[in-house]
């Protein structure tokens, strides 16, 4: 492919193309690779493109230097008046620091050989060291009716992991019943360290496999339309909906084949802070789309399971 025709930029953080970087390198023959990156910003932000930038640098240096007078830099010394947003951003950044309060929710399911474990890992990362804050953890576990089934709390310092088995408090562990509920998790920083790895995760453990996903906040009425496949027989698909309001909400789950066909609708009324595990009704084999719309704030997770719940995968939608 001719590089000039390639629509991909070299560095998306600073918005530079390969051609711009080559011009920059040729305009400053005294600069080594690090210097070219520093002066342009290429490869200095998320650093993902450094390997590509190095290739471009080598090629530009090997090629005959162009008499490039044009510099791609746009740092001409013009007086820049800050916008209102920039002023507000500066004020925010320079206001006193207070302990962060990070709230999220997760689904809880339980059944025969099926459980949900909450994990908050405050790990020490090898190249960084112990730079994270200690955090207080508070969990409120609600059953499907929204009633408080348990309250748990703990503290997780750098190098520690906090775990709680949420499934045992929800029930549904006898017979073929699968019980469902949900949890609200609040993390509060106890010092001025970083967040590190403390975003809570929940593990759905089944007989033949586990799935682990991060918790998520509730900020929407409607889920993003989500795709699932019914190609394999004996696979079951569900949405878990958590009512995040302190009042009853009505939810509509619409599922339709992607290649056309009638949507199947299921309606559920969820009590305050209640939740439901709704099995989706596909029409034949193939890709389907499903969407959840509620008249209040909700959080939806999608589950794909073996017919006997021997393996369950889960993700937020």
């Amino acid at each position: 492919m001719n590089e000039a025709d390639d629509p991909e930029l070299l560095c998306y953080c600073v918005g530079w193309s390969r051609t711009q970087f080559i011009d920059h390198i040729r305009a400053a023959p005294e600069k080594d690779f690090a210097g070219a990156c520093e002066s342009s910003g290429v490869g200095m932000v998320c650093t993902s493109c450094l390997l590509n930038a190095e290739v471009v640098y080598s090629q530009a240096r090997q090629a005959a230097p162009a008499a490039a007078e044009r510099s791609s830099e746009n740092k001409g010394g013009k007086l820049h008046w800050p916008s209102r947003g920039e002023i507000a951003g500066w004020l925010v950044r320079h206001s006193p620091l207070v302990p962060g309060h990070f709230e999220s929710v997760c689904p809880v399911i339980s059944g025969p050989s099926l459980t949900t474990e909450l994990v908050v890992s405050n790990a020490i990362a090898p190249p960084v060291g112990a730079r994270s804050a200690a955090f207080a953890v508070e969990v409120e576990l609600n059953d499907s009716e929204g009633k408080v089934a348990a309250r748990l709390s703990g503290r997780v310092a750098p190098g520690e992991t906090w775990r709680a088995d949420l499934g045992t408090e929800i029930g549904g562990t006898s017979g073929d019943d699968v019980g469902c509920g949900s949890a609200r998790i609040v993390l509060r920083a106890l010092d001025r360290g970083y967040k590190g790895t403390v975003r809570p995760h929940f593990a759905m453990r089944a007989r033949r496999g586990s799935a682990v996903v991060h918790t998520a906040n509730a900020s929407r009425n409607a889920s993003t339309p989500h795709l699932f496949s019914t190609r394999r027989k004996d696979e079951r698909h569900f949405v878990h909906i958590r009512n995040c309001e302190a009042r009853e909400i009505l939810c509509r789950v619409s599922t339709a084949p992607l290649d056309g066909g009638k949507a199947v609708e299921v309606r559920r009324t969820l009590p305050a802070l209640g939740s439901a595990l709704v099995e989706l009704e596909p029409q034949g084999a193939g890709l389907h789309s499903t969407q959840v719309v509620c008249d209040g704030l909700q959080r939806t997770y999608f589950l794909a399971a073996d017919a006997d719940f021997g393996r369950v995968s889960v993700d937020h939608v």
């Binding site: 650093t47 925010v92 620091l97 994990v119 990362a125 190249p127 960084v128 394999r232 794909a304 995968s313």
Partner: protein
């Protein structure tokens, strides 16, 4: 603090997708409503440039175009893309050289996109025999959380907090490392409680699968804990939960967790503004 460039963008940051394991079909359905909402103009032509890389080279490239006219898509078919697994069980089991998919959205006509980030979407992997799973892909560049990390620590490290191997229950786990760039990358992998990290070279424009069971001693029946991947150059990665005896029998595949460079303490004024300006979505009608 770094902020992404504002204003219309000609192209979105490429999205990297893991290869479909043997027996699986990768099914990508781009979110047309979200892409339409992301377009600045009501008349645009969007190039969907899908590239399959592996073994250090471009294996195959598919270019298709979506045309938006007066706010409506003329033909939605290019949003759909299926890819049968190009690897066999032996290649997957060995894991040394696997392919991966890149997807670019570029505006060929019109002002382009409101954001440099393409609307997010899941990719579904399905099979006649094996459990289906889905995955939300990865940004090739400019992941905001990685940017914050580099700002805070001048180092790159990602991982996953709850990994698990259990030989008695046939529970296996791997990480798929994808190097979409033009030079090889060397990363270190550490598993919590194991003394020595393992160094892995990921060749340019290729991916590989590192099976955690092989990092444990053969006598170690079970392990559970945090995994970290780090190095001088960032690669993309996905953590895969699978069978040990049949590693292409997948339970789920997850994106990595970045060791976050945001502070646990937050600016008081920011919290105040966030709480006072918290937007509640308009009530949805269920009728």
């Amino acid at each position: 603090m770094f902020e992404h460039r504002q204003g219309p963008q000609r192209g979105c940051i490429p999205v990297v997708t893991a290869p479909p394991p043997p027996g699986y079909t990768l099914r990508q359905r781009l979110p047309l409503d979200a892409i339409r909402a992301a377009c600045v103009d009501v008349d645009e032509i969007i190039l969907i440039d899908r590239r399959l890389y592996g073994g250090g080279k471009l294996i195959e490239r598919w270019e298709q175009r979506l045309e938006l006219r007066a706010g409506e898509w003329l033909d939605a078919a290019p949003a759909a893309f299926d890819l049968e697994s190009p690897v066999d069980e032996a290649q997957w089991g060995e894991g040394k050289s696997l392919p991966f998919l890149e997807t670019l959205l570029v505006a060929e006509r019109g002002r382009g996109f409101r954001s440099i980030f393409a609307p997010s979407f899941y990719t579904v992997f399905d099979s006649d025999r094996l459990k289906s799973f889905f995955n939300d892909n990865a940004l090739k560049y400019a992941n905001t959380v990685v940017i914050r990390q580099i700002e805070a620590f001048k180092a790159w490290v990602e991982g996953y907090p709850v990994c698990e191997i259990d030989r008695a229950r046939d529970l296996g786990q791997s990480v798929i490392l994808i190097n979409p760039h033009e030079r090889p990358a060397v990363v270190s992998i550490s598993l919590e409680g194991l003394e020595k990290p393992r160094k892995v070279k990921v060749d340019a424009m290729s991916s590989c699968r590192v099976d955690f069971a092989q990092m444990l001693g053969a006598d170690r029946q079970a392990w559970r804990g945090q995994a970290f991947v780090w190095g001088p150059n960032r690669v993309n990665m996905f953590f895969v939960y699978h069978g040990l005896a049949e590693p292409n029998s997948i339970v789920t595949m997850e994106h990595s967790e970045v060791y976050r460079g945001e502070h646990g303490y937050v600016p008081w004024l920011g919290e105040l503004l966030r709480k006072s300006a918290r937007k509640r979505p308009a009530p949805a009608s269920i009728e």
